[in-house]
């Protein structure tokens, strides 16, 4: 019963492509890929109804369609606008778009606390990338940034409402992945906030995915909280037999410790397959996982600074030429350094490390 899908021609930044009818401009641009793709903070292809909120994907439509060639008067959100036959779209070639995006970034950052040095999302934060690519160096905002009362979102998820840009992705995850939504957006305008209704903890088995869909550091993993910076951990593709999800994940390691488990993400930073809370929060040792190899990390990401991918270690020849004798160690770094103490396994600590964690390790010495 396969029907012939009608394709339409669309030109984005002078690149023409045939796409099925009903595709949004953003998805058409993603099919072309590269610099032509508008950034998206709220649109998520795996979540129905997402998009249209952040306005970062604004594009200029310089020709509506073959039938009606008039340009659209205003910039349109490319995630919510469908393509028409013969449509011509300008993204990076339009100065109006670059200028508008500049303004959008400034608006998104108005109330953002810019606490990147503390935030666990730093290094894989979409708002950081967006600000770096499209933003200005300084803000013109002079007033106090909004603050919120603290909300507890259960034992695994940390909510920093000040960092939230209200993209609603997490609300859609709770809506579409779980049976009963217990969190949503309260209040309006500047006061709107993500919150569980009357401090209910989210105990659904798939609720951990809100961490992955959050484009900023508003929802972060409590089990990874402050343990390491993402660019110092080694991402590896791994899988396990899981009764409720696919079990295909990325584990973030320091040495043998598994500091964090996340879902695998595609080139647009979107989750490939949702994973369950058990995989995400409870399987924190290397023996739980079958490791497939280093995850591909874009060369432009700070995470690639470790050069784990395609790394060829030189062959150790010392013992071969010295009749099997290994080299004499001049100094064992652990005898002097307190950092990365082998007696402290950060992955076994629930929540963030504190002064008590390290006091214990000093006593042992």
């Amino acid at each position: 019963m396969s029907e012939e899908v009608k394709t339409v021609k669309v030109t984005i930044d002078n690149i023409t492509i045939d796409v099925p009818q009903g595709t949004s401009i953003l998805n058409a641009a993603r099919m072309i890929g590269g610099d032509v793709t508008p950034p998206a903070m709220c649109y998520y292809s795996k979540l129905k109804g997402s998009g249209g909120k952040c306005r970062t994907c604004l594009v200029e439509v310089s020709k509506g369609s073959e039938a009606d060639p008039r340009p659209m008067p205003k910039l349109v959100a490319s995630c919510r606008t469908g393509v028409m036959d013969g449509m011509e779209v300008k993204n990076i070639t339009s100065p109006r778009v670059t200028d508008a995006r500049n303004g959008v970034v400034e608006f998104l950052l108005l109330n953002h606390p810019l606490d990147c040095p503390v935030c666990d999302q730093a290094g894989e934060c979409h708002l950081q990338d967006l600000g770096y690519m499209h933003g200005k160096e300084a803000t013109r905002y002079e007033f106090k940034r909004r603050t919120f009362d603290k909300h507890e979102l259960g034992p695994y998820i940390q909510l920093h409402m000040t960092r939230c840009i209200l993209c609603y992705r997490c609300v859609y995850v709770a809506d579409q992945l779980t049976d009963s939504r217990v969190h949503g957006v309260l209040s309006r305008g500047d006061h709107s906030e993500i919150a569980t209704y009357i401090e209910k903890s989210l105990d659904n088995n798939f609720i951990g995915n809100v961490i992955d869909v959050c484009p900023v550091g508003a929802l972060t993993d409590k089990t990874f909280r402050f343990k390491n910076r993402v660019w110092f951990t080694k991402p590896q593709n791994a899988h396990r037999d899981c009764s409720c999800c696919s079990g295909k994940v990325t584990i973030w390691q320091r040495g043998e410790e598994v500091l964090r488990v996340t879902a695998r993400k595609d080139q647009w930073g979107e989750v490939e397959e949702w994973i369950c809370n058990e995989c995400r929060f409870e399987k924190k040792s290397a023996s739980d996982w079958v490791i497939e190899g280093p995850t591909h990390v874009s060369r432009h990401s700070v995470i690639s600074q470790g050069h784990y991918e395609n790394m060829k270690k030189p062959k150790e020849i010392f013992s071969a030429v010295h009749d099997g004798r290994s080299p004499k160690l001049l100094m064992d770094i652990h005898s002097v350094s307190e950092v990365n103490d082998p007696s402290v396994d950060l992955s076994k600590i629930n929540g963030s490390a504190s002064s008590d964690t390290f006091k214990l390790s000093r006593k042992k010495q």
């Binding site: 606490d115 990147c116 040095p117 503390v118 730093a122 909280r225 402050f226 343990k227 390491n228 910076r229 660019w231 110092f232 700070v302 600074q305 001049l330 100094m331 005898s335 002097v336 350094s337 307190e338 950092v339 990365n340 950060l346 929540g351 963030s352 490390a353 504190s354 002064s355 964690t357 390290f358």
Partner: protein, 184 residues
């Protein structure tokens, strides 16, 4: 065998002239040069009694900064470590407790912070990368040591004296640079 490079020169070896074979004039000439240096200005100083002023851009031993209330500035963001070309800096972060608010400026802090001075090349990139005003390079150099262990500097060595609790130490550590600049 031919020459290896075209820059090699063939040494001429002529027999010595009569004056050269006496040696004495050449010796006297040398002694005169040596003697004349006694009346010239000395290019050296007698360290450590005398010390040369450091250049204002001198990059010496690192210090970890505190704010005026004595709280540590460092939040263990890891930017110095990722900027470090010699990979000399390592750290581990911890979360501040409610009772430790007077010790650390932000909710995350560096529980451990180490710089391996054997690896450090004193390039100053850590200082440039720091978003929190936390690491600076001072006008001292790393003292020599007999063991490798002595070159791994932890927070005990790197932190500046607390301006609230240890006022005297803090004043000494601050040095005289600020006074000099003001007088100018």
């Amino acid at each position: 065998m031919g020459l290896l490079t075209n820059r090699a020169k063939v040494l001429e070896q002529k027999p010595l002239t009569f004056m050269e074979s006496l040696y004495l004039p050449a010796i006297l000439k040398g002694m005169a040069i040596t003697f004349s240096h006694m009346f010239k200005k000395k290019p050296t100083i007698s360290y450590p009694e005398e010390q040369r002023p450091f250049s204002p851009v001198f990059r010496g031993l690192h210090v970890l900064n505190r704010d005026e209330y004595g709280r540590e500035n460092c939040t263990a963001c890891g930017l110095c470590a990722v900027a470090c070309p010699a990979e000399a800096i390592t750290m581990e972060a911890a979360e501040r407790k409610e009772s430790e608010k007077h010790l650390y400026r932000e909710e995350k802090y560096a529980a451990k912070y180490e710089i391996n001075m054997l690896r450090c090349i004193f390039c100053g990139l850590c200082e440039e990368a720091c978003p929190k005003d936390a690491i600076y390079m001072s006008e001292t150099f790393a003292p020599s040591n007999f063991t490798r262990k002595g070159f791994i500097y932890s927070k005990d060595e790197l932190l500046i004296p607390n301006p609230v609790d240890e006022k005297e130490k803090y004043e000494i550590a601050k040095g005289k640079r600020e006074v000099q600049l003001k007088n100018k």
